[in-house]
């Protein structure tokens, strides 16, 4: 007898990566598409050193993440409010310090107006944009930005590096919520109920009594994994 293999849908991004990584990636993708950063080298990892050939440069880095309980920590499933700190690094080269700082400020403003004014990516309900109906991956949403810090840095502390670089460092703490409901593997899928069994009865006595019963069948849990948003009709 051939047993048909159960076909599993391919995992969606949020089954593999954390929401924080997804948020970082979608922020970087949004900035790379912005005209201001068209000529910039973009990276999302700080593992490789930036060399002068990479300038102008924009990096969006995962800095750290704090999690606090969402609601009563000892009631119900585990839920967290995540505070994701992302670091934006914009590096430019200019021998004129005044023009250099103006360029850094323009970069900061481009980030602010590209990310936080986006009505779809920051939507708390439905992130799909039209035409196209493309939204955030798996409709991952943020609730807000709880903190931001900006600074301008001109080379190393002694300012004696050869290339006239300047860096705008912007750190934004993004808030989102996530719940981690338990994964039940030994599911209760069926209950059978029968009447008429009474302690001490003989089989004949039980057979003489009118019997009834019921079968309760439950749907498996959890429901199928969420799929990426489809285009609206």
């Amino acid at each position: 007898m051939t047993v048909a293999q159960r076909v599993q849908p391919p995992p969606t991004i949020s089954e593999v990566q954390s929401y924080s990584f997804i948020i970082r990636d979608m922020f970087l993708a949004k900035l790379v598409a912005a005209p201001f950063f068209g000529s910039f080298t973009a990276r999302k990892s700080k593992a490789l050193p930036v060399v002068t050939a990479n300038i102008p440069y924009i990096g969006v880095y995962f800095v750290n993440e704090d999690m606090t309980p969402d609601g009563d920590l000892n009631a119900g499933e585990i839920r967290f409010t995540h505070y994701l700190k992302l670091g934006f690094s914009v590096i430019i080269a200019n021998n004129d310090p005044v023009a250099s700082e103006a360029s850094l400020d323009a970069a900061f403003w481009a980030i602010m107006n590209t990310l936080w004014r986006d009505p779809y990516m920051t939507n708390f309900v439905d992130t799909r944009a039209y035409p196209g109906g493309v939204g955030n991956p798996d409709n991952v949403r943020i609730e807000g930005v709880s903190r931001g810090t900006r600074r301008h840095v001109f080379g190393n502390a002694g300012k004696d590096n050869e290339t006239p670089i300047a860096e705008m460092q912007y750190e934004a703490t993004v808030k989102y919520s996530a719940d981690y409901a338990p994964i039940i593997t030994d599911e209760l899928l069926q209950i059978g109920v029968r009447t008429g069994v009474k302690p001490g009865d003989t089989p004949d006595e039980m057979a003489a009594r009118l019997q009834t019963g019921a079968e309760y069948v439950f749907e498996p849990y959890p429901p199928p994994a969420p799929q990426p948003l489809q285009q609206k009709e």
Partner: protein, 121 residues
Amino acid sequence: MAVNFSTLVYLPNFDMFARPITVIPLASQPGMPSYTARGIYDTRPIDVQAEDGSIVSDQQTILDVLDAEFSVVPEQLDQVQIPFDPDGGPDLGTFEVMNTEANGGGETTLVIRKVVTARPS
């Protein structure tokens, strides 16, 4: 007995290691024409710390000059061109003097920075 470092120590070194340069005295002598001189070029790698511990890999470049060979020693925001030299090496381009550090013995170290096209322009 006092030692004249400039003459006895630095001068022989400059005769051996210095290469020709052109100084554009934008700050030290505004309005004056550029002039030729010589200096000892040196560069070494340096890491510049950037956002959250990331690194920009760069060079730290200096040019030593002998004070006695200048009527006015180059200052911050002067420019220095280091052209091709058959003994010294290839054309290294134009640099801006970011800082000067005199050692008290007759030599001044110019901390220099490359003059580059603004990026983004």
